[in-house]
């Protein structure tokens, strides 16, 4: 097993073990997501007959806003426990930190998606079949990679900045807008009135391109982010 892989595994075990013991982040994210979906249901769905068209949009608006909570917690335990300096002087390539954070955020977002998408179907598109729900979940998984990658990257920059809590959503949300538009498009291509497999594939391809693009950007410049 290579050294990089062992470092990555150690970081992942640390982050996931902290989360399993405290259950702070994932519980808050799930609760927030359910409340947001209920708000959409009460505020919009009960007053409109065409909510099936909006199911994907509601779900992805909820996931994007919930992601802010998860991304906002990235690096926070290390900063509060003053572990961050130790981590940064450890002989670990900076990119390994980013990959570890990204994987943890993908786990969080996938958990949220597994709750939000069935809720979206129950609330707004009750006629949806299980196979269609599966397709929406698959496109969501690809979208999660892009969101998690951008979130982990920007969280690393905001950790040393003032007004971190205010800054991060302002940086993060505009950058993930293309990803959210495509993910909502993929959901619409499956759940909408005229399902279109070609559209669905196109949106999934875009989500993949988004993740790869930011993966390459992060590969090229992430070392400069933690260059302190």
């Amino acid at each position: 097993m290579s050294l990089t892989w062992r470092q990555l595994r150690a970081l992942l075990r640390k982050d996931l073990r902290i989360e399993l013991r405290t259950r702070e982040t994932i519980a808050a994210m799930l609760l927030f997501a359910v409340v947001a979906m209920l708000i959409f249901q009460f505020a919009v769905a009960q007053r409109s007959a065409e909510v099936t068209l909006l199911a994907g949009g509601f779900a992805w608006a909820t996931i994007a806003l919930t992601a802010v909570l998860g991304v906002g917690r990235t690096w926070v335990p290390e900063r509060e426990q003053r572990v961050i300096d130790g981590l940064l002087v450890a002989p670990v390539p900076r990119l390994v930190f980013l990959v570890a954070r990204t994987v943890v955020l993908v786990v969080y977002l996938t958990a949220v998606e597994l709750v939000v998408m069935p809720l979206a179907v129950v609330f707004f598109a009750p006629d949806t079949g299980l196979s269609d729900l599966g397709l929406v979940l698959v496109s969501g998984l690809v979208a999660n990679v892009g969101i998690a990658l951008v979130g982990a990257f920007l969280a690393s920059m905001s950790v040393f900045s003032r007004a971190r809590e205010l800054l991060l959503p302002v940086l993060f949300l505009p950058v993930i807008v293309p990803n959210v538009i495509a993910a909502a498009g993929a959901a619409y291509a499956v759940l909408g009135p005229a399902p279109d497999v070609a559209d669905y594939r196109g949106y999934c391809l875009f989500l993949g391109v988004y993740a790869v693009t930011f993966g390459l950007v992060a590969y090229a410049i992430y070392d400069y982010v933690l260059d302190d």
Partner: protein, 238 residues
Amino acid sequence: MTDPAARRLAILGSVTGALLAAAVLGAFLVAPEDADQGVIQRIFYFHVSIALVSLIAFAVSFVSGILYLRRRDQKYDEITVVSVGLGLMFSGLVVITGSIWAKASWGTWWVWEDPRLVTYLIVILLYAAFFMLRSSAEGERSARYSAIFAVVAFAAVPLSFYSVRVASSFVHPVVIDTAGSKVPGSMMVWFLVSLAGMIGLFFTLLQLELMQRRADRSLRDLKVRLERAAERRLSRAV
């Protein structure tokens, strides 16, 4: 005027002024009127060129951001900041001129189905965060984070364009696409003059702002030196 940079700026400003004046005259008085859209089509000579220049501004900030990360030269940090500011200004003008066209064409100031107008709104939000990030960090970190975000934001620009463009509703007329230009030569000439004028305007404003920043820095250095000299003279007198 002995400063070569000031002389270059004066020449650039004069050429830009002449090009913009020619573009205004050409677009409103010489170019033929579009048979389909009428007089409102003339706004495209400026709307499209402003849009292209805003992208050039963000591309300049992307390149200067990379150069700052590699060389850590304050000059590149200043180019990044000024380019993002000018890019935002041009993007604001794109939205305003686009809205004017939308009002004349569709009777409404804003059309959510128009992918490019919506994209510019996203781009404005994206780059507006740049200044918030810059002010929340200090010293070298502020410049480094600005450079990094300029690179990240520029990577997001084409993705924003594409994501909105793949939306099925597509009402914005495509003037230039992969198959080439759909504009006749008599119109294209004035569009190119307008584009050259706008590019000149961007580089004039960039140069002007950079000169102002350098003058400001020199003045601050001079003030510090004078204060130190005054302190030394005072201590000798005592």
